[in-house]
Amino acid sequence: MTEKKQENSIAETVLTTIEKNQLEPRSRVFFTTKESVLWLLWLLSVAVGAVALAIIFMVCLSSMHALHELTHDSQISFWLGAVPYLWLAVLGSMMWWAWQNFRHTKRGYRYSVWFTILSSVGGSVVVAAGLHLLGAGVIFDEELGRYTSLYTSQLEREEWRWQQPSEGRLLGVIEGVTQESLRLRDIRGDEWVLFTSTLSNEDRDLVHLGRMVRVFGVERPGREFTACGLLPWKSEQRQTVAELAEIRKKMVRRSHDAALWSGEEWGQSQAECADLPMMQRLRTAP
């Protein structure tokens, strides 16, 4: 068979198949749509990655981390216990998906793996920073926690971290105030009497009926609690890194001041406050 004949036979077979099966080139709209879907999927994965990052930012750039000594034994246990691994996993999966979608766009293969991954991560970081500044991380986290039974929001986790009276932490709403005590209803609905002689003036400024506060101190029998300090549950506004650093600095200073109370001239309550494990941890904090 000559070369020319061979060429003709393939061309003829192909054209005959096209005729016989009435094949037509797929429309341009089909390919434009396919390309657009890939880009949309890329955008979606970057957006979901950004939500994941915004929630991670919320945890890391909040008093949860700034005052982690109050709720965790060490920095390591904070990272092990408080970091939203689910969201890290979501972020990882989304970045992988973003890379896959990017790679399958018309020219996506021309870019290196690192370029595509970093541009996706970079996109997510920028959007996440915006979401964080708008306070959207908290909203996403809370709404997901509210509407998804399988998901426990970071705020809910923090609530339960603070509802540990035996470990010296309480979370609840102030329902009554006297000269020497407070009446507080915790998030389980139990009523507590808090002795407040050891509170500082700054703590006392937080005392308002109906306000939800975090309390650290010492549990006593019969739903009584010696309050060594009060903290607002959630700040009204998003705190900046500088503000968080200042809050931390104050708390560390307070732990050092508390150590001065441990002498005999001070009462037993002050000594107990000074010896709280969380205060000891703060005193050794860098």
């Binding site: 070369e3 060429e7 003829e12 021309r110």
Partner: protein, 196 residues
């Protein structure tokens, strides 16, 4: 009057209006692609026909997705490569390259690019041994070596055909050549051992 030779892009445009024009594209690329798929491991003529027919049918169906900024040949080679891969997946056989080339040319190319100048090949290595060495390479290395040294494609064309970044083409070629050099050197040493 002599008919003006049309570019591939022009024929693509005509084929979208008049399917008979598509025959011209098939004629232009059939022999090149036949050699290429053979080098990729599709050996018999019947199998090559199958792969080529599927390739051209796919090209036709996807004409509207062709990006005129790319050389048409890169796009058509990419489809042929994918079809060849599908073919040997379907056959459930390990792809084995079947390269027939001027062994001196390949040896010279490999020797000038490997790190160790002491790697001196026996120029008497037969084309079949070069073919065997290339065939024994991992698919990714074999694919770039075939495109670069047997199909004489530029780096950007290889990038478009294999849908990998330009940097990866260079890396795969460098590593592929090193591996090829090692295999060829072992062939040389083995043949020297048997020399009386």
């Amino acid at each position: 009057m002599e008919e003006k030779l049309q570019t591939d892009q022009e024929i693509v445009q005509h084929s979208l209006i008049e399917k008979e024009s598509f025959a011209e594209l098939i004629t232009r690329y059939e022999q090149k692609l036949r050699r290429y798929v053979a080098r990729l491991g599709v050996r018999t003529k019947d199998d090559q026909d199958d792969v080529l027919q599927n390739t051209f049918l796919k090209v036709y169906r996807n004409l509207n997705s062709y990006d005129p900024d790319l050389p048409f040949s890169s796009w058509v080679y990419r489809i042929a490569r994918n079809e060849a891969i599908s073919w040997y997946r379907h056959q459930r056989v390990r792809p084995e390259g079947y390269v027939v080339a001027d062994s001196d040319e390949i040896l010279a190319l490999v020797a000038e690019t490997v790190d160790s100048p002491e790697v001196v090949f026996d120029q008497a290595l037969a084309a079949t041994e070069v073919s065997r060495a290339v065939a024994g390479l991992e698919e990714k290395y074999r694919a770039v070596i075939i495109l670069r040294y047997f199909e004489h494609k530029e780096y950007d064309e290889i990038s478009d055909i294999m849908q990998i970044p330009l940097g990866s083409v260079g890396t795969l070629l460098y590593r592929g050549k090193k591996k090829l050099a090692t295999v060829l050197k072992s062939f040389t040493m083995r043949s020297n051992e048997y020399t009386p």
